[in-house]
């Protein structure tokens, strides 16, 4: 590694202070005479760099999209799930069957003396299944929830009708709020308000229809929503006595850390938990989500970039191969140059510069291609995902790619260049 750094240093030195103009003239002349060969040789580098740029760009766009969504949730939003913090697949399974979040817990959290900064709380449930009306059947996302939270969190308000109320929740009312897509699938253009739809053999009266908003987050398309009171979903649709999650709003963002501690204390007290390790619940704040998403997207981007980078190694091998050909072709020239006074290192630099120039040209073409592809991809993804998707390309990715390209040239050019530099002048001159 140290030697590599030394090489880089020497080459920079050479480029800046020595007769680089002539070397470049020579090298470029050589590459021009072998245009199609040079082009094919750098193709591997072009593709490798382009895919690295593309993946890094998409990764960055995805990350900023998801983060912006999390931010729309608001800084005062907190979520509680039963079961301890998942660290592996078995933990995930535990959570699915965890039943530690029931009315008793919700009531305890609602108590101002337990959690003073909590201003609102609602349990939430997902109901698998489909909905039907007349002959039409549709598979929506069915939520047991407080419908007015759509307004509180996502600023989505009914287009027709009104959200069901606290009374409907208390009385386990058979009422439903439906998304625009659900309405269209079941009712077409006819009126839906007041009609009765069937979920799991139970009839629900449509009390509100949502405007078409599409994806309110990467995970939820509000147009496919059916929201029913969580009490109704719990008892009649799922037949359970616990909740899958609870959503909480704090007084303000600053109050969140203190409130989280209050919630923990309340639940631990309620469940007689002494050691935090034994917690049968876990709390997620926007900060946690942002941290996790950043981690996930970073890991994914690094992973995909590494896969793309493999093509750079393949490209590098191609460069090495063609450099070996070039060295063989120029055997007599090497002999002549040595006869005229070239030292071993002059020959070495000559070929190193040739391979680095090749890969840098490939890198530049790859960057251009990668930026172009990323832009095209962003056009397509904007159509698919929505206006939240933005074309992003970082300058650091571009410089990194260029550096990597040069490094590939240096590493894979070293062996052929060394081979050239060690040729005996007289044998090289005799070469036919």
């Amino acid at each position: 590694m140290n030697r590599l750094v030394l090489w880089i240093f020497r080459i920079c030195n050479l480029l800046i202070f020595m007769r680089s103009r002539y070397i470049f003239k020579n090298v470029l002349g050589g590459l021009k005479t072998n245009k199609s060969r040079s082009f094919l040789t750098i193709l591997g580098i072009v593709i490798g760099i382009a895919s690295v740029i593309l993946i890094m760009s998409i990764g960055q766009s995805a990350k900023s999209l998801i983060l912006s969504e999390v931010e729309t949730l608001g800084g005062n939003f907190v979520q509680i799930n039963p079961g301890k913090e998942p660290e592996g697949l078995t933990d995930m399974a535990d959570i699915l069957f965890a039943n530690s979040l029931k009315d008793r817990e919700i009531d305890a959290l609602k108590n101002k003396s337990n959690v003073p900064d909590l201003i609102d709380i609602t349990p939430s449930l997902m109901v698998p299944g489909s909905v039907s009306y007349g002959g039409e059947v549709y598979k929506p996302t069915i939520l047991g929830w407080s419908a007015d939270w759509l307004g509180k969190i996502y600023k989505v308000y009914p287009e027709q009708g009104n959200y069901f109320t606290e009374d409907d929740i208390k009385s386990r009312g058979a009422v439903a709020v439906i998304g625009s897509k659900v309405k269209e699938e079941l009712f077409g253009s006819s009126d839906a308000l007041g009609e009765k739809i069937k979920i799991k053999n139970k009839y629900f009266r449509v009390v509100a229809i949502l405007p078409s908003k599409g994806q309110i987050s990467s995970f939820a398309d509000v147009d496919k929503f059916i929201v029913v009171p969580y009490t109704t979903a719990q008892k009649y649709l799922l037949g359970i006595d616990y909740y899958q999650e609870a959503h909480i709003l704090a007084k303000n963002e600053e109050a969140v850390p203190g409130m989280v501690e209050d919630i923990k204390a309340t639940l631990r007290d309620l469940h007689n938990i002494k050691d935090p390790k034994d917690d049968d619940f876990h709390i997620t704040t926007p900060k946690d989500i942002i941290g996790k998403i950043s981690l996930i997207t970073t890991v994914l981007t690094v992973l995909l970039t590494s896969i793309a980078a493999i093509s750079l190694i393949v490209g590098g091998v191609g460069i090495m191969n063609i450099m070996l050909v070039s060295v063989t072709e120029k055997t007599r020239e090497i002999g002549l140059r040595k006869a005229l006074g070239a030292r071993n290192k002059d020959i070495l630099y000559y070929f190193l510069i040739e391979s680095v120039v090749l890969t840098i040209v490939g890198g530049l073409a790859g960057i251009a291609g990668g930026v172009g592809l990323s832009y095209l991809a962003s056009l397509v993804l904007t159509k698919v995902v929505g206006a939240g998707w933005h074309f992003a390309i970082s300058l650091s990715a571009i410089f990194l790619s260029l550096g990597v390209a040069a490094l590939v040239g240096l590493i894979f050019g070293l062996y052929p260049a060394r081979k050239a530099s060690l040729k005996s002048p007289i044998e090289a001159l005799r070469y036919e």
Partner: protein, 238 residues
């Protein structure tokens, strides 16, 4: 001080059973300003000797002193520098680089020298003048005849004003008209003080030098001054 002094030079190619001696026990001196032709049939070791004299190859045994310094002790890099500063090479096959113009070909040794870049053009121009190629500097190799290519090669050998010029069959690939021009140039270079060591297998060409060393089977069989020297300007026979 002799420019070149060799003592019992041996060169053996191959190893073990395949050992073939190319030179066995060669001794001579060359002084500054001499014009020496090394002659002999093919396989006599004359090219090997020239390569050793020009630092392109190393003797297997024996001592070679260049300007009284034993070259066996020079590291490779220093050999390259001596080659660059004090020696010029002319090859039978010219060995011009195809991608470069005449001027750039002549400049080639200067890349590897300590001479300031600002002087390169002037020096190359001067060397081109000396071989009568002043008007062809921008041309490409393919636009030149064999004789002209060899003149470029001579200019290249001259450009850094070397002490000694090594010529390996300089007229071997040329017709007699071009050969005459080339030999005339080489004789003139010798006249103005350049030491010339030339390998040839043609007796007539060897008699254009001032001294002939004849090799046979890797040994010197004759080393004498030329009695009736041919001058290229009077004619040339192949």
């Amino acid at each position: 001080m002799s420019l070149i002094r060799v003592e019992n030079i041996e060169k053996i190619y191959g190893q073990g059973k395949n050992e073939t001696p190319a030179l066995s026990g060669v001794c001579f001196k060359i002084e500054k300003g001499e014009f020496v032709a090394i002659i002999g049939p093919s396989g006599s070791g004359k090219s090997t000797l020239l390569h050793i004299l020009g630092f392109l190859d190393k003797p297997s045994k024996g001592k070679y002193y260049f300007e009284d310094k034993l070259i066996n002790e020079y590291p490779d890099n220093e050999l390259a520098q001596v080659r660059n500063a004090k020696m010029g090479f002319i090859f039978q096959t010219f060995n011009l680089l195809p991608r470069l113009s005449v001027l750039d070909n002549i400049k080639l040794p200067l890349y590897y020298s300590h001479i300031k870049e600002s002087l390169w053009d002037e020096m190359s121009q001067k060397a081109a003048d000396a071989v009568g190629l002043t008007h062809r500097l921008k041309h490409d190799r393919s636009q030149l005849s064999g004789g002209e290519q060899q003149r470029v090669a001579i200019a290249r050998a001259l450009v850094n004003n070397p002490d000694v010029i090594f010529a390996d069959e300089p007229t071997g690939n040329l017709d007699s008209k071009s050969g005459q021009i080339i030999m005339d140039i080489i004789q003139k270079l010798n006249d103005i003080g350049h030491t010339v060591v030339m390998v040839t297998h043609e007796k007539y060409t060897s008699e254009m030098a001032k001294r002939v060393i004849e090799l046979k089977d890797g040994k010197i069989v004759r080393d004498e001054l030329v009695e009736s020297r041919h001058l290229a300007r009077d004619g040339f026979k192949k």
